[in-house]
């Protein structure tokens, strides 16, 4: 690590940023792959099934007890899935609008991956802050990028030039715009309470004053449900509802392009879980443990912080997956009704009440 001192600060910045980007990208990709596995396993368990338990690479024979156990858990399934998607024929129907058909999957994935940039997934490692971009307007950046994600779905539906994808994309654009509003409104009270838009500051505030989920339960509920709608997960998966629209916006897709849509969906789930952990559940801090709630220069504690963050995130991911089997799909008018007639007023009232309380406490 000696040579680092000879580099100029800006070179160091570029170097560390590149490292962090690669690390986070790799972690998110792995997390997506294993989120799919967890989804399949948890779904199976909830339906009294076993789930994927067969994929065994050749070296498994050399691991006596652990090997078969890992195979039973399906640990190697994501690799097989990924390989399968890569090797499948990339089929483009001949009546599609080619350009849109091709760029739509990319437009879905890119914003989903970009949101991760502002999330503080740990305190510090050495002297380096564990966040790619420590923006002052972190949350606004996230909302801005997330709002671009809808283009992927809309263009997929338009580019497919076929009626079910089109219906799916129309539904999705209406749904995502509708739920962005309550989602954006639900977080305003948090910033009123914490007094900053910076995600790092919000975590620091929570470490000192307790988690936001206790102070702003209404905001949390609205954000959570809006997150389900934004990520197109059941019970709000109207854009792809299999039983009505075949597969919705990705009906015409196959192979790697289809995989990109899934990647986008799961990356979105990861991003919203990370957002919820950061905004409502104290980020990388743990209450009652002082060592874990203050940034420290020791590498071990830094790694522990990252571990805490990922553990909390995993819990939210499991919640996402679990809810899928808990509730049936909402009807479209119910969806809109909840969004516009329940959540937006509730979020507005929450803002006003919080603002009043903050103003009175301030004086």
């Amino acid at each position: 690590m000696e040579f680092l001192q000879y580099l100029s600060p800006s070179t160091q910045f570029v170097l560390f940023s590149a490292l962090k980007i690669f690390a986070v990208f790799g972690v998110v990709m792995t997390a997506v792959a294993y989120a799919v596995l967890v989804e399949r396993k948890v779904s199976a368990w909830i339906q009294n099934r076993v789930g994927p338990n067969r994929t065994a690479p050749f070296f498994i024979n050399y691991l006596p007890v652990i090997g078969p156990f890992l195979v039973r858990l399906g640990i190697f399934q994501p690799m097989a899935d990924g390989l399968k998607f890569l090797l499948k024929e990339d089929f483009t129907p001949n009546y599609v609008r080619k350009v849109y058909f091709w760029i739509a999957p990319a437009i879905t994935v890119i914003p989903a991956l970009m949101t991760v940039a502002v999330i503080p997934f740990g305190s510090t490692l050495g002297t380096e802050k564990m966040v790619i971009a420590d923006l002052n307007v972190g949350i606004l950046y996230t909302f801005g990028i997330v709002s671009l994600g809808v283009y992927g779905i809309v263009l997929a539906g338009y580019g497919s030039n076929s009626k079910y994808p089109f219906l799916g994309s129309i539904r999705s654009s209406a749904q995502m715009i509708s739920y962005e509003i309550p989602m954006g409104m639900s977080v305003i009270p948090i910033f009123l309470v914490a007094g900053s838009l910076n995600l790092g500051d919000i975590i620091r505030y929570q470490a000192e004053h307790g988690w936001m989920i206790l102070k702003q339960p209404v905001a949390f509920v609205i954000f959570l449900i809006a997150a389900f709608a934004e990520t197109n997960r059941l019970p709000f998966d109207l854009p792809e509802s299999e039983s009505e629209l075949v597969g919705g916006y990705h009906t015409e897709y196959s192979s790697m392009k289809l995989a990109l849509f899934f990647l986008g969906e799961y990356a979105n789930m990861i991003a919203s879980s990370a957002m919820m952990v950061t905004l409502f559940c104290g980020g990388w801090t743990l209450p009652f443990v002082t060592a874990l709630s203050t940034p420290s220069s020791s590498i071990l504690i830094g790694l522990l912080h990252i571990g805490v963050f990922f553990a909390k995130m995993a819990l939210f991911m499991i919640l996402f997956i679990w809810v899928r089997w808990m509730l049936p799909r909402f009807r479209y008018d119910q969806l809109m009704d909840i969004g516009w007639r329940r959540f937006i007023p509730a979020a507005l009232i929450n803002i006003v009440v919080t603002a009043l309380v903050v103003a009175f406490l301030h004086d």
Binding site: V42, A44, I46, N48, R49, V50, M326, L327
Partner: protein
Amino acid sequence: MSTKVVARAPLTFYERTYLPTILSGLKVTAKHFTDTVFRGKTVTMEYPEERWVVPEGYRGAPYLVKDQEGAIKCVSCQLCEFVCPPKAIRITPPGADGAPADRTNAEKMPKEFEINMLRCIFCGMCQEVCPEEAIFLQKDYSLTGESRAEMIFDKAKLLKLGGTHGGVQKWKHKLEGAKAQEVFPV
């Protein structure tokens, strides 16, 4: 037929919060989850290792059978070939100077007997029609092969898979009876 409109009971406030639905959903999923994970109650049958019990009277693949003495029962009458709805059976008769049957009380046996398992619909007509009780639908349900040619089962294969059928040997008793009366049908 007249339609009767059933008025829906208006939801109470508690119901409109969706909480009861969410809670009951949670209860059901949690029950199944714990059942699977902690009590190992699954409905999955892990196929190649576990196999289901094939019920009596199951109509699996049709095979040729031999009698207790190891002789081929089929007499190449070609009734099954004729009756088979999808024309899955093809029989090559021995012809005028072909090999004789390997049992005393039969005239001939097929030179070649093929069943195309890709065509067969497992209807059981061949078993039904066979005067010699030489072909039976057995319990095999998992027929696989890597080519179409492989799925056409020939006589040797059918006999091997079919095994011995310990049922009636109707001509044997006739033969015994005839021997006693010294009138030989053959």
